[in-house]
């Protein structure tokens, strides 16, 4: 971005090597996994269960190397723009961490507390993370959404969602 904050391009440049590293490591993992597969007795011919992982792993390793060279020669990935995206600043990691926490809380609590409560926690937490400070209104919207979708899915669509602690109430 030409309008990016000074220094951000260089920083992205260094962290972009991480992408190459990630791809390379993933490729090596694929190759190692494929080589460790026990020999199969049923498969004949050159293409068994190992072949495709080996090819994909090889592709990833090659791509990682080419990408690293591209970055070294000054190539940069284009960060995706969009309607609500302001690329002039750095990534807002605090918002991200809170969002991930809200999302993980729902995943951990959905079986015990049930969707009507864990889903509400997810929505409220995410809205809070994104900067909404209308606490009461947010709780109301979150509960209407989670209880509403629970009824919609269980009664109208026939898809079961955990009811959790609200069993007998809903």
């Amino acid at each position: 971005m030409s309008s990016a904050a000074p220094g951000s391009t260089r920083e992205q440049g260094r962290s972009e090597y991480g992408v190459a590293l990630f791809l390379g490591a993933l490729g090596v993992l694929l190759i190692a996994q494929a080589l460790l597969l026990p020999a199969s007795l049923i498969v004949r011919g050159p293409v068994g269960p190992k072949a495709v992982p080996l090819v994909v792993g090889g592709l990833l390793v090659v791509v990682a190397a080419v990408l690293a060279v591209d970055i070294a020669r000054g190539g940069r990935g284009e960060p995706e723009g969009g309607e609500d995206i302001d690329l002039t600043g750095r990534s807002d990691w605090a918002t991200m961490a809170l969002l991930v926490a809200a999302f993980a809380a729902n995943a951990m609590l959905i079986e015990s507390l049930g969707w009507p409560i864990s889903g509400a926690i997810l929505f409220w937490g995410a809205a809070f993370a994104l900067g909404s400070r209308h606490y009461v209104r947010d709780v109301a919207i979150a509960l209407v959404l989670s209880v509403g979708t629970w009824y919609l899915f269980v009664l109208a669509l026939g898809v079961s969602l955990p009811v959790g602690v609200l069993r007998g109430i809903l």
Partner: protein
């Protein structure tokens, strides 16, 4: 019985009151969700997928046809009123459409987009109905080895989209292929990349991948860079056009259809190139070239028609070969596969009710879209003002809901978060999402074809070479070596309209902040600096 007779039967299926209701619901929901900023047609489909779990397959697909068109139209509304395209295909619409809206002609821009989409969608769906069975009959002759070659072509085509980095496309493809490999190998029964986790043995559900990459990834990425400034939405009345608008619109609509359908129908397309081609063509042919750049109605009418025609064209390879060429078509394929139906050459024979019901409901959905959207434009404009905190919280909420509903497993929610993190990384470093999703969907399919082909030939690699597949492999080589081949072509042989379109793509990208200055400079430098690098994709 000919295609027309089958189509009439299809209307019989689609016009039942129940299915009409589903088509209506699909159009309404698709537009409402698609109009929300930040939500493109692919994400609309992915988010609404769980709603159809309880429906019989025909009704579900009819509803999806409605969501498909509704989501696309919703996206155009957003680009016109906000100047912020949600997907690459509506970039062009935003160029002239938003200028028109700023000059107080939002209603006309929305009207020409809606009517153009209707005209193009109707003609293109008719072409689909006529061409589909023919292509399917030809495709029946296509063997396993040929199919494998076709899928490879689709892989290479989606990674080599105009104006983007090829090595990053290949990286995204590799990530998708890796995700597709997870699970028990169907032929040998061996576990691959499962790391002893029982939940991974069945593979990663494609719905989780789609929702993770599109919805969760997008929400996380946007959250990290959320624009805190208040949104400026241009107020709009009922969409309408006067006589002059009509006379300036109808030719671009037809030309757009003619450009869009073939691009959609070849298993290599995407909607970005044809929409730009249409834009450039209209600018060349317009009697008011001076208006371009300041809100020319032709610049909205043509590309919008192109977009819709290419979407309908994309259903040809999807239904007859099972090859999706756009992200939206990929999600549609996922939706069809959740019912255990494998689109392919036999689909027209084995599931005639379903296929023709689907095609008929495309006509119906298209008509409903027109009836619904002209008067409802002011309502959709209101949706654009939804607070961003609730919008992105809602996307995460519905993503979690949809992912959990697939297998009722909390493990899937963690997986969804991990894939969402991957989607975030891809957006941050400019890895395109489309090759990844195509890799996940078609990767396992390609492996199966490859191995079946080799079993038939008893392990002889020569079994992969047929006249048809040879042609495909030559095509693949041409695409891969294109930067090299281009240098040896006399400059006259270059298609001027195409290179101009390529230039427009670059310009629009940088205009919308989709690219950085570095990349544009690099691209210009390409032409001057002769650095042959045979065989190795050099990252451009």
């Amino acid at each position: 019985m000919g295609a027309i007779g089958e189509l009439i039967n299809g209307f019989g299926t689609a016009l039942s009151p129940e299915n009409l209701l589903y088509a209506f619901l699909g159009v309404l929901l698709g537009t409402a969700i698609g109009v929300l900023p930040g939500i493109g047609p692919a994400m609309t489909l992915a988010l609404l997928l769980p709603l159809t779990y309880a429906l019989p397959v025909t009704s579900a697909l009819i509803m999806f046809a409605g969501i498909y068109y509704g989501g696309m139209y919703g996206g155009s509304t957003t680009s016109i009123l906000l100047n912020t395209p949600g997907e690459s295909a509506s970039v062009v619409t935003a160029i002239e459409g938003n200028k028109m809206a700023k000059r107080g002609r939002a209603a006309q821009a929305l009207a020409t987009a809606a009517i153009g989409s209707f005209v193009a969608g109707t003609i293109a769906t008719l072409l689909l109905a006529l061409l589909g069975p023919v292509v399917a009959r030809v495709a029946l002759q296509v063997g396993q080895a040929d199919f494998f070659a076709l899928i490879l072509l689709a892989f290479i085509a989606v990674t080599s989209v105009l104006g983007s980095s090829r090595v990053r496309g290949l990286a995204a493809l590799g990530l998708g292929l890796t995700i597709g490999l997870v699970g028990i190998d169907a032929t040998s029964g061996q576990q691959r990349l499962t790391f002893g986790i029982p939940e991974l043995a069945d593979g990663i559900d494609i719905v989780i991948v789609a929702v993770g990459l599109f919805a969760v990834g997008e929400a996380l990425w946007t959250a990290a860079h959320l624009r805190r400034a208040p949104v400026q939405v241009i107020p709009v009345g009922t969409a309408r056009m006067n006589r002059e608008d009509w006379s300036r619109s109808w030719k671009p609509w037809l030309r757009g259809t003619a450009i869009g359908f073939p691009f959609g129908a070849v298993p290599a397309g995407g909607a970005e190139i044809p929409t730009f081609l249409s834009y450039v063509t209209e600018r060349k042919l317009s009697k008011h070239p001076e208006e371009f750049g300041h809100g020319a109605i032709e610049g909205v009418a043509g590309p919008e028609a192109t977009n819709n025609a290419s979407a309908a064209g994309g259903l040809v390879p999807l239904l007859t070969l099972g090859l999706p060429t756009t992200a939206t078509a990929a999600i549609l394929l996922v939706a069809i596969q959740t019912y255990g139906i494998e689109p392919g050459p036999r689909l027209f024979d084995t599931e005639p009710v379903l296929v023709w019901g689907l095609i008929a409901s495309l006509f119906i959905g298209n008509t409903m879209l027109l009836i619904l959207n002209l008067p409802l434009a002011p309502l959709w404009a209101k949706l654009l003002q939804i607070p961003r905190t609730y919008l992105y919280a809602g996307i995460l909420f519905f993503s979690a809901l949809g992912a959990y509903a697939v297998n009722a497993s909390p493990f899937d929610l963690f997986l969804l978060l991990a894939i969402g993190g991957l989607g975030f990384m891809m957006r941050r470093y400019g890895l395109p999402v489309l090759p990844a999703i195509i890799g996940v969907i078609l990767g396992p399919f390609a492996e199966e074809r490859l191995r079946t082909a080799l079993q038939i030939s008893n392990g002889d690699l020569g079994g992969l070479i047929t006249p048809f597949s040879t042609v495909i492999y030559v095509l693949i080589a041409l695409i891969l070596l294109w930067p090299l081949v281009r240098r040896f072509l006399p400059s006259k042989a270059r298609v001027p309209v195409l290179s101009e379109a390529a230039h427009e793509v670059e310009e629009a990208h940088s205009h919308h902040g989709l690219t950085n200055a570095v990349s544009v400079e690099r691209h210009v430098g390409d032409e001057v600096r002769e650095k042959p690098d045979p065989g190795v994709p050099d990252g451009r």
